[in-house]
């Protein structure tokens, strides 16, 4: 259904007149030209499309545009501040928490949301919270180390 959709995206107001049943993933990647958020499975199982909505990790391939009405959406493009990487991004580089990089945006956004809720999670809590994000290259051990580093 055609709707006036308003939400905050990476700190800035967005206003769109479009179908509120569209999926956030394709609106981000298409209309809003933010391609850091990836399509991986379309069922919310792999986590490549993860963004934060009001500080909570959400699978944007399962999120209707109407669901973010009036909310605060953060994508991977919104983490840098004044050209400076977020500590999580820096830690992913330093620990080599990526290989092909395709799951990386979702990994970082899932971890960012975790740290919003729990600034100093235990290793077990990190494993539990990240378990729904798939990495095929096998960077798991380094991703955990990066999140631990960023949560010190």
């Amino acid at each position: 259904m055609q709707h006036d959709i308003r939400f905050r995206l990476n700190g800035r107001p967005v206003s769109m007149d479009t179908d509120d049943q569209r999926l956030l993933l394709w609106v981000l990647r298409g209309d809003l030209e933010l391609t850091g958020t990836k399509y991986g499975c379309g069922l919310g199982i792999c986590g490549a499309c993860t963004v934060a909505v009001d500080g909570q990790a959400m699978r944007s391939c399962q999120t209707r545009l109407g669901d973010v009405q009036g909310k605060n959406v953060v994508t991977i493009e919104g983490l840098e501040r004044d050209g400076k990487l977020h500590p999580l991004q820096q830690a992913f580089i330093e620990h080599g928490g990526f290989q092909c990089g395709f799951c990386t945006s979702g990994m970082i956004m899932n971890a960012w949301s975790l740290l919003q809720q729990k600034p100093h999670p235990s290793r077990d809590a990190i494993v539990e919270e990240m378990d729904g994000n798939l990495c095929r290259c096998g960077a798991h051990q380094r991703i955990i180390a990066a999140i631990q580093e960023a949560s010190k």
């Binding site: 990836k38 499975c41 069922l43 080599g96």
Partner: protein, 675 residues
């Protein structure tokens, strides 16, 4: 077809361009390498160094390690190098990124080109500064007092040099960049979402395409009704023989349109399925029985494996002024160029393939059917077209790693020496099927090798170290079986039968780091060991597992891996690959296997096909053995090879039960425990 040297330099702009002609064999290619030179390296007027490589970056890290090779010889920082990879207009022809070959075979060419460039630059510097007592660091040449930069030296020059191989390479002792842990050059782009993959391309007027797919492989279409899709506003419907597609600027609308297409199909009967595949192979391709007199006879089996990269096959194609440009997530840009040219009836010179970052390949992106689909649709519609496979399409059109069977008949003497080895494999191919141990008269037979059989009901192809994981699972399990029967510690048994110095060293190193305690298995402690040699690299692993006797679940607690890969370019990158191999390897060992019934693929997403998750990953320790006397060997695949055996051997040590079938899913473990 290819621009000549002068045209090439013009195309690239001024500065210093170093070209190289390499005999095919040096590049590890099976076909002839084009005899016309192509650029490898350019130093422009700003001192920027650009390295051109037909290889692609899919996570394995050659984007960084090839830059290290050039930086070392050239005397510049790694960060000052710009990589241009997988662009068929700009990069030297290449046989494809696979087989852990980039470092082994392309790397030496990069070094030679960089050394040649340094020779040219130093000569120019010596003319300028009037002395040949010069040193270079970070692209600045100095005689101790005065300085001149590479950029200043290259300014206004149009020098093209062909490598003659006479430029002296730096020795291992002189290395400043090679052998140093180097952070990846693609890091910043990948943690900020800026890294470009094929799906991130946007072209003016671009349409997203969705294609009609059969319900199973081998199905034929009986009827088609596209009327409802055609009635949707703004949707383009293409019916071109087997190619039926809907296109729209919004991928969700294209997807909705596809759901409106009605088609009926005739489906062939299934000849075999997930469980019966091995028996089907054995029945249809009988081997010759050579097991006469053997004390031990074992049959090992594995299932079909999906590559399952997180980036599905994606391509964008655009036809403009008679020339087709395709941006493709592929491991073989030059092969895809030929295929697109053929499919469209164009000359190869009219096709350009550009490879952005590839979101995982593992062998599965050696084929790029999606690029041909996008190219055909771009030709038909006259508009730029993107094809992004859904996850279900990715599981349907994957070129699966083949299911396989291995039979081993072997004997040992009373001193624990192997005296007989008759090995026959079905569908795993010959890679890593060598015995490695000192067995006189070992016999190895390879049946149904890749490309030689039509028994598979769907596409198959190379899966990270093709077949090697199966072959080593069989060999190293069989070695363990014999060690246990002889009541000899499995490490000791291996050392007793192996004279290869590199093999002995990796085994001992892994065992020491693990804290291996001698003793015949099963000890109840859940410890296993295995060794392999693949892509020139030796790898030994020791692992510790726990087996839940009630649920049949295997928990891998710890894996220690030691690797001898000759000179190591980027130790951090090499360890990343080892860890990645171990983590990914947990999948084919414990959970991953394609469920199918004939040509019908039952797995369509990660719901039923289970990739390794964070909670499955054990403590991993990796050791790189120093071996600077040996040229760099393969790194992307070797450590995935021993995973099946090391875990199966640890399971045997834990519960005294031998697993002959991968993956070791709980139901199979329970069945083995009960028998």
């Amino acid at each position: 077809m290819r621009a000549n040297r002068r045209e090439f330099c013009k195309l690239l702009g001024g500065g210093i361009v170093v070209l190289i002609v390499q005999p095919a064999v040096l590049l590890g290619q099976r076909r002839d390498y084009p005899a016309d030179p192509n650029a490898y390296l350019r130093i422009d007027e700003n001192g920027r160094v650009t390295l051109f490589s037909g290889k692609i970056e899919m996570g394995q890290g050659v984007h960084t390690s090839l830059a290290q090779r050039a930086a070392e010889e050239l005397g510049v920082s790694v960060e000052s190098i710009t990589m241009v990879m997988g662009d068929t207009d700009l990069c030297p022809w290449d046989g494809g990124t696979h087989g852990s070959q980039s470092t082994r075979f392309f790397g030496p060419a990069v070094r030679a080109a960089a050394a040649e460039a340094r020779t040219v630059l130093m000569k120019l510097a010596s003319q300028k500064l009037g002395t040949d007592q010069l040193t270079v660091a970070n692209g600045v040449v100095t005689d101790g007092k005065r300085k001149v930069t590479y950029g200043e030296l290259a300014k206004g020059k149009e020098i093209a040099r062909l490598v003659d191989g006479k430029a002296v390479l730096r020795s291992v002792k002189e290395f400043k960049v090679i052998g140093k842990a180097t952070r990846r050059l693609d890091g910043k782009d990948k943690v900020t979402g800026r890294a470009m993959y094929a799906g991130d391309l946007r072209r003016p007027g671009m349409l997203h395409a969705r294609l009609l797919r059969p319900p199973m492989h081998g199905a034929t279409r009986k009827s088609l009704d596209t009327s409802k899709a055609k009635a949707m506003a703004g949707v383009t419907v293409i019916e071109n023989g087997d190619l039926v597609a809907v296109l729209h600027a919004d991928p969700e609308v294209a997807n909705s349109a596809l759901q409106l297409i009605k088609a009926e199909w005739e489906k062939p009967a299934a000849a075999f399925d997930t469980e019966s595949v091995g028996d089907y192979f054995l029945k249809n391709v009988p081997g010759t029985d050579k097991s006469v007199g053997a004390t031990f006879e074992s049959t090992f089996r594995t299932g079909y494996l999906a590559h399952a990269p997180i980036e599905t096959h994606t391509a964008v194609a655009e036809l403009k002024d008679g020339r087709l440009t395709a941006w493709v997530g592929t491991q073989g840009p030059f092969q895809i160029r030929s295929q697109i040219a053929q499919a469209l009836g164009l000359d190869e010179s009219k096709v350009r393939v550009i490879t952005p970052f590839v979101g995982g390949g593992f062998g599965g992106k050696s084929r790029a059917q999606q690029a041909i689909e996008a190219a055909k649709l771009a030709q038909i519609t006259g508009k730029p077209v993107m094809v992004t496979w859904t996850r279900a399409e990715e599981f349907f059109y994957d070129t699966f790693g083949p299911a396989a069977v291995v039979k081993v008949a072997a004997s040992i003497d009373d001193k624990g020496k192997i005296t007989q080895w008759d090995y026959t494999s079905w569908a795993s191919g010959g890679r890593s099927s060598e015995v490695l141990y000192d067995v006189p008269g070992a016999k190895i037979q390879t049946l149904m090798a890749r490309g030689s059989t039509n028994l598979h009901p769907f596409g198959t192809g190379p899966w990270r170290a093709p077949g090697a994981g199966t072959n080593v699972f069989a060999r190293e399990s069989q070695i363990d079986i014999m060690a246990a029967a002889a009541k000899i510690d499995p490490l000791e048994f291996r050392l007793r039968n192996m004279s290869d110095a590199r093999g002995r060293r990796v085994l001992q190193t892994a065992a020491d780091a693990f804290g291996w305690k001698g003793g015949a298995g099963p000890s109840g402690q859940g410890r296993g060991i295995a060794v392999s040699m693949d892509a020139g690299t030796w790898c030994a692993m020791a692992a510790e597992v726990a087996v839940d006797r009630k649920s049949g679940e295997i928990k891998v607690k710890r894996v220690v891996a030691a690797q001898d890969m000759g000179i190591v370019i980027n130790p951090d990158g090499a360890k990343m690959q080892m860890e990645g191999c171990i983590s990914m390897g947990l999948g084919y060992v414990l959970t991953e296997e394609l469920n199918f019934k004939g040509g019908e693929i039952l797995d369509q997403n990660f719901v039923t096909y289970t990739l390794p998750r964070f909670s499955m990953v054990p403590r991993i320790e990796t050791i790189l053995i120093s071996n600077d006397d040996l040229a760099p060997q393969g790194g992307g695949e070797p450590a995935i090879v021993p995973m099946g055996a090391v875990i199966a051997n640890a399971v045997f040590d834990a519960v005294g039960v031998r697993m002959y079938r991968l993956p070791m899913i709980p139901s199979r473990v329970l069945a083995a425990l009960r028998s």
